[in-house]
Symmetry: C2
Subunit: 191 residues, 2 copies
DNA sequence: CTCATTTCTTTACCTATGTAAATGGATTTA
DNA sequence: TAAATCCATTTACATAGGTAAAGAAATGAG
């Protein structure tokens, strides 16, 4: 479980007492490629820590249209964050794009520790702040950049991912169709 | 200053001791229509609480292109949140769209209170979580909805705002040009 | 009230991207 | 190996939205 402790310590130092309380909540879980960690429409109950593998988080509407919001690569927290926080049903799903290994905890128990562990609540604050900063950045990119700039940015931000996942997942992350991504790739290759 | 206390209490109850420490940091400020609270390129130093007026937060690139990320209406915290958190220069600016009244505090002093006031750090955590949820929602809307659906959503979410600010500010919030917004408005009016 | 400025709308044209369908390569399954 | 499936690419066409410029309407200053 050292993966979790190390990650938390990068946010803020976690005391041994706090870590003792956290660690008893963590259970190992394997997720086979294609399996879901969370699905839309359900109330999220668990928070996960991905220490091996790739997970996509995506929005799916009633027509079956899918938009890949994010690719999670280890190390990273995963889970229906908005659902956990607001206690409303998940709008998004998370699915393994490779075989994955996680530590999983009940979020209700986890977040109850905030009351007795200010250092953990601090870590949670810092994590939420970082999530916000990431989302704000993504928002700007979606509006200000066109699709081929977003594609090149994706290549920089996830350099190892392009060969590991399907093109249509990348297209979906960029907010375009596989057709358009193919056009962009052709144009870029012509130089 | 009760506006600030009341707002914090909606996040989590704030003790009298904590409030005493916060309140000495707060200074009143007037912002005339058109004035900036923060500007891009600078390091943010202050956090503000808007209790009267309208402020736009926007991104501006090197070509002068502007994208209105958000409209702040009272009551609301304002400030270069990402800049404050990450201690990097602001990417965004915030400008008064009407005469505004704020309470302003030095963020460094404010956030140092987290160490001695767990209830304030809790409020900060909850606020960051809410900001994240808002941004995630906005991201989905930008990708999944087309411009006229986003326009109708804007009308619902800011019902009082449409008559108070310029069309081109709304267009910029929607991620389109005033030309396109005008086309959308014409089409909607024809029904 | 009048003139000047700003904002909104309209038009013509152009581009990025979507849709649907066909093709061919790659991978999986029988 | 053969068949079936999945995936990336390509093509033709349709549409949302951008750009530039002009005109109309609203706002503001003197």
């Amino acid at each position: 479980m050292t993966e979790v402790k190390d990650f938390l310590d990068t946010l803020t130092p976690i005391s041994d007492e706090t870590w003792a309380k956290i660690s008893v909540l963590l259970k190992p879980r394997l997720l086979k490629k294609g399996a879901f960690f969370i699905e839309e429409g359900q109330l999220a109950k668990e928070i996960g820590f991905l220490y091996q593998g790739i997970i996509r988080g995506f929005y799916r509407n009633a027509d079956g249209f899918e938009y890949n919001k994010h690719f999670f690569t280890n190390p990273s927290f995963v889970g229906g964050y908005a659902s956990l926080i607001t206690n409303t049903p998940n709008q998004i799903s998370q699915q393994a794009l490779s075989d994955c290994q996680l530590w999983v905890a009940n979020f209700e128990k986890f977040s109850r520790l905030y009351l007795s562990c200010p250092d953990l609540e601090r870590a949670a604050r810092i994590l939420a702040e970082r999530f916000f900063v990431q989302k704000e950045q993504r928002e700007i990119e979606l509006v200000v950049l066109d699709a081929d700039q977003r594609y090149r940015l994706f290549q920089q931000q996830f350099p190892q991912l392009e060969n590991q996942i399907a093109q249509y997942h990348i297209a979906s992350y960029l907010g375009i169709t596989p057709t358009q991504l193919s056009r962009i790739r052709r144009k870029l290759a012509q130089r």
